[in-house]
């Protein structure tokens, strides 16, 4: 443990961790002299958790319900949640992803009041049939806003082409049809199942005294009683290793076409520490292949096949993983052809030592700079924590990566049989 502690000290960051009696995991990360404190309270519950067994009984809930619930948590019978924070100068918000729902505030004063408010509003639910109905109009607008957004659409279409059964193929917010099936009772079931303290984490980052803050949190939790956690078993359908389909095209009213190319990863069972290692290793591979310093990127740009918004991304959870590259693409078909040929060639030749080292150096520097943003630390810490990984080991893991492993990874992951293409093309002139 001392080695790890020393490594974290070199980052100038220390984590004070504690699991409370009710099962809540608390992580405090003090940042000397920051004015701001950022706290995030998150549950391991996202859009993919739409099927589960409660005490052995199967439950199937409408798509988009985790996100719907996130909206409804802001309802309170006494005082608007937004005002409870506003009263103490903090701003509050929340988001829902495939595997996580997180509530957070950022504030520069009244930390105790704001932490109490965060814990209290998420640990209390106030639902009426009326306020559930009212939310549907708001969320329908949010879904339509997403439907008009070509970058979001091209990404969601990619995942739904990649996955045949796994709910990661469904939009996080669900559809206008599915959210209209949501009712108060189902929301309550989801709430009581997934918002138990033992399924949640609280991460606080910023300028504060951790001894004091831990004490406030413990006192807050000690005031409340929770029923023992229900036995919940998440049900994910069996997902074939190969993509559902090779390509999907969507027509939208845009001036620029978009193209994303994805590779479906095979996850299997990840041992301890394996997630971060695989994620960083894959990141180095992708940066060495598609980063802005590669010859390939320069050629695509020169030939007008991409613009500078071209990027790569790798996401890995214990259940699914995928790589995505792409962006704006004036001639999608040609781009795909070039990428295919390039990846096949790179797989046979391998990444060079020089490119590997440069990508590693860059990853270290970028990680260190990210530690200046308390919100980034909190958000990353939560996400990795819910995926059983420790984000602060990034530099250590980066330093242990080996070139030969990167080349093995390249060959096993970026196979053509795993590849999927999603394209958004401008709608033709005729109006619908």
């Amino acid at each position: 443990m001392t080695g790890e502690r020393a490594a974290k000290a070199a980052l100038g960051i220390e984590v004070i961790a504690k699991t409370l009696d009710n099962g809540l995991r608390v992580y405090l990360i003090p940042k000397a002299d920051f004015r701001q404190t950022f706290a995030m309270f998150a549950t391991k519950y996202g859009s993919i958790d739409n099927e589960f067994k409660l005490d052995g009984k199967p439950v199937r809930v409408p798509d988009g319900i985790a996100h719907f619930l996130e909206h409804k948590m802001f309802e309170d019978d006494e005082q608007e949640v937004f005002s409870q924070f506003a009263e103490h100068g903090a701003s509050v918000n929340a988001f829902t992803t495939f595997d996580e729902t997180a509530y957070y505030f950022s504030g520069t004063s009244d930390l105790r009041e704001n932490i109490d408010t965060l814990l209290n509003f998420v640990q209390k639910i106030y639902l009426t049939d009326e306020n559930v109905e009212k939310e549907k109009g708001i969320i329908a607008q949010e879904i339509r806003m997403g439907d008009d957004n070509p970058d979001r659409r091209v990404f969601m279409e990619l995942l739904s082409a990649m996955y045949a059964a796994h709910p990661v193929r469904i939009d996080i917010a669900g559809s206008v049809e599915s959210i209209y099936q949501i009712d108060r009772e189902t929301l309550l079931t989801c709430y009581h199942t997934f918002y138990h303290p033992s399924n949640m984490v609280l991460v606080v980052v910023g300028g504060f005294n951790p001894v004091e803050v831990m004490d406030w949190i413990e006192k807050n939790q000690a005031r409340k009683t929770f029923s023992p956690p229900v036995a919940v078993e998440r049900v994910y359908p069996t997902e074939p290793a190969l993509p559902r389909t090779e390509a999907v095209t969507t027509r939208l009213p845009v001036s620029l076409s978009r193209c994303l190319i994805g590779w479906k990863d095979t996850v299997g069972t990840l041992s301890e520490g394996a997630l971060l290692h695989r994620e960083l290793l894959t990141g180095i591979v992708l940066d060495a292949l598609f980063g802005k310093t590669t010859k390939f990127y320069g050629e695509l740009l020169r030939d007008g096949l991409i613009d500078k918004a071209f990027s790569w991304e790798y996401d890995l959870t214990p259940h699914y993983g995928y790589t995505v590259i792409g962006g704006n693409a004036p001639r999608p078909e040609e781009l795909v052809k070039r990428v295919k040929a390039y990846v096949a060639d790179a797989a046979s030749r391998g990444i060079t030592e020089e490119d590997f080292e440069r990508a590693r150096k860059k990853a270290i520097g970028r990680f260190l700079m990210s530690l200046d943003q308390v919100s980034y630390i909190a958000r990353s810490y939560v996400t990795y924590c819910l995926r059983d990984a420790d984000f602060l080991q990034t530099v250590d893991v980066l330093q242990t990566l080996k070139l030969e492993d990167a080349n093995v990874r390249l060959r096993e992951h970026l196979r053509e049989s795993q590849m999927v293409v999603s394209t958004v093309l401008p709608k033709s002139e005729t109006a619908s």
Partner: protein, 462 residues
């Protein structure tokens, strides 16, 4: 789960040794942050240094600004993008980026901004503090690289070669076209341009599609020369720099070699857009194939960042639509479920205020009515103590957070440069606290109706 509270006591000590952190030495407590900027000036070149030990990132920004003019708004807008395409000694983007990656992923980027009637071109670097890992002179090399990107160009080569220019013109065309894809941003920009019509502030940040026809390597290189000759230059160094004096000297030396020290620092004073121009809203409707319509309502206020009433206007904007507790959010979204997002935005340079929301096209009348009711409510003094208190606390939080972000501190100082008056964040907070309801009512009464901009589907009536 490890419980490592005991390690905390050692933490500050370790940090102090490794990084020079020391809470007691924090020089900013109780003093205005701007007072800590150390400025050196040589002709048009200004170097502003803010020592800051709490950051792990060193922020280096060189900004050049000139008044926006119709005749060169487009080529000027292209320059920052072009600089990254290659220089005399690093002839391609790839060469530049590789050099940056070698510096532990130092982020070197160029940017284009627009503040009121000014066009702003910048090159910046975020340099990781890697002193714990390496003895390399990362900062000096990063500075050299930034200067390279900005200054080391010649006609007909690298970024200004015919090939690179042709490619950039094509990219710029797509860049301008792509602004239409972000409907909310596009609508706001169009609304603010309508509010500022007839002034230089109405010129679009990226310039005009129709100008691209006439662009070529010569025109662009001439434009580059004009920029170097006429722009006012502000360099910002924010972060844990070791030897800022020497660094400032190095910067002034490198810059003045190319642009000369000549020319006086201009006396800037940006005036807000004049009021007394319109008595009622002009209606502008645009059609695109969208599922959700954008309704933006623009006003002029006649005051800006340098006005005495600026704090009152900030409070007014906050009560109206700056926050989730604001009247617009509570009424348009929470009470009537008309929109997912509804905000008001105050432009500190031009003094324009715009209410922006995304709605179903058929809700136009209802949304407009509810929005106007909120403005009228403030004008009638319908403001609760709670709204005042929450808004102040919200603004206090927003401005205090700036102190944690190197790039925000740079922008804040620069705002002051452009408006001809610096405002200490701490003083502003003081002034905000003293704003009364009457001040907010007075500020709301300054809202002069100007433009209702509506972006809606092809078949939808207004």
């Amino acid at each position: 789960m490890t419980f490592i509270l005991e390690a905390y006591a050692q933490l500050y000590h370790i940090q102090a040794v490794l990084f020079g952190y020391n809470v007691e030495d924090d020089p900013y407590v109780g003093v205005g942050i701007l007072a800590n900027f150390i400025t050196r000036q040589a002709g048009r070149i200004n170097v502003h240094f803010l020592p800051h030990t709490r950051f792990r990132t060193k922020d280096l920004t060189i900004r050049l600004h000139i008044p926006q003019r119709r005749e060169y708004v487009t080529p000027m807008a292209m320059l920052p993008y072009m600089w990254m395409n290659g220089t005399k000694s690093k002839p391609s983007t790839r060469d530049l980026m590789m050099a940056a990656d070698e510096l532990y992923g130092t982020v070197v980027r160029s940017g284009l901004g627009k503040r009121g009637e000014y066009q702003i071109m910048e090159v910046s670097a975020n340099i990781p503090d890697v002193r714990a890992i390496t003895r390399d002179h990362v900062v000096e090399q990063a500075l050299a690289l930034v200067c390279e990107v900005l200054l080391n160009h010649e006609a007909k080569t690298a970024a200004f070669s015919d090939d690179a220019v042709r490619q950039e013109i094509d990219l710029h065309r797509r860049r301008i076209e792509a602004t239409r894809d972000d409907k909310m941003g596009y609508a706001l920009q169009r609304c603010l341009a309508e509010v500022a019509r007839g002034t230089a502030a109405a010129l679009p940040r990226l310039g005009y599609l129709e100008d691209l026809e006439a662009m070529n390597a010569d025109v662009l290189f001439d434009c580059y020369q004009t920029l170097l000759k006429e722009a006012e230059v502000h360099v910002y160094l924010v972060g844990p720099y070791q030897d800022a004096d020497a660094l400032s000297e190095q910067i002034i030396g490198q810059l003045s070699q190319v642009i000369g020290e000549g020319g006086m620092r201009s006396q800037l004073q940006v005036e807000p857009l004049r009021t007394g121009v319109e008595t009622s809203f002009r209606h502008v409707t645009e059609h695109q194939d969208v599922a959700q319509a954008q309704l933006d309502i623009g006003y002029r206020t006649g005051l800006n960042f340098s006005s005495d009433d600026y704090p009152a206007m900030l409070m007014m904007n906050g009560v109206l639509g700056g926050f989730a507790h604001s009247k617009l959010f509570l009424n348009v979204r929470e009470k009537h479920s008309l929109a997912y997002s509804v905000w008001s935005h105050f432009d500190a340079m031009t003094g324009s205020l715009a209410v922006m929301t995304g709605i179903e096209p058929k809700q136009y009348e209802k949304a407009l009515q509810i929005i106007e009711e909120q403005v009228a409510a403030i004008q009638a003094g319908n403001i609760t103590d709670e709204e005042m208190a929450f808004t102040f606390r919200g603004l206090q939080n927003q401005y205090t957070v700036l102190l944690d972000q190197p790039s925000s501190l740079t922008s804040w100082h620069y705002n002051g440069v452009l408006c001809g008056q610096q405002r200490e964040i701490e003083t502003l907070l003081d002034q905000l606290q003293r704003v009364t309801k009457d001040d907010v009512v007075a500020a709301a009464k300054r809202l002069e109706p100007n433009t209702i901009y509506f972006l809606t589907g092809e078949g939808d009536a207004q």
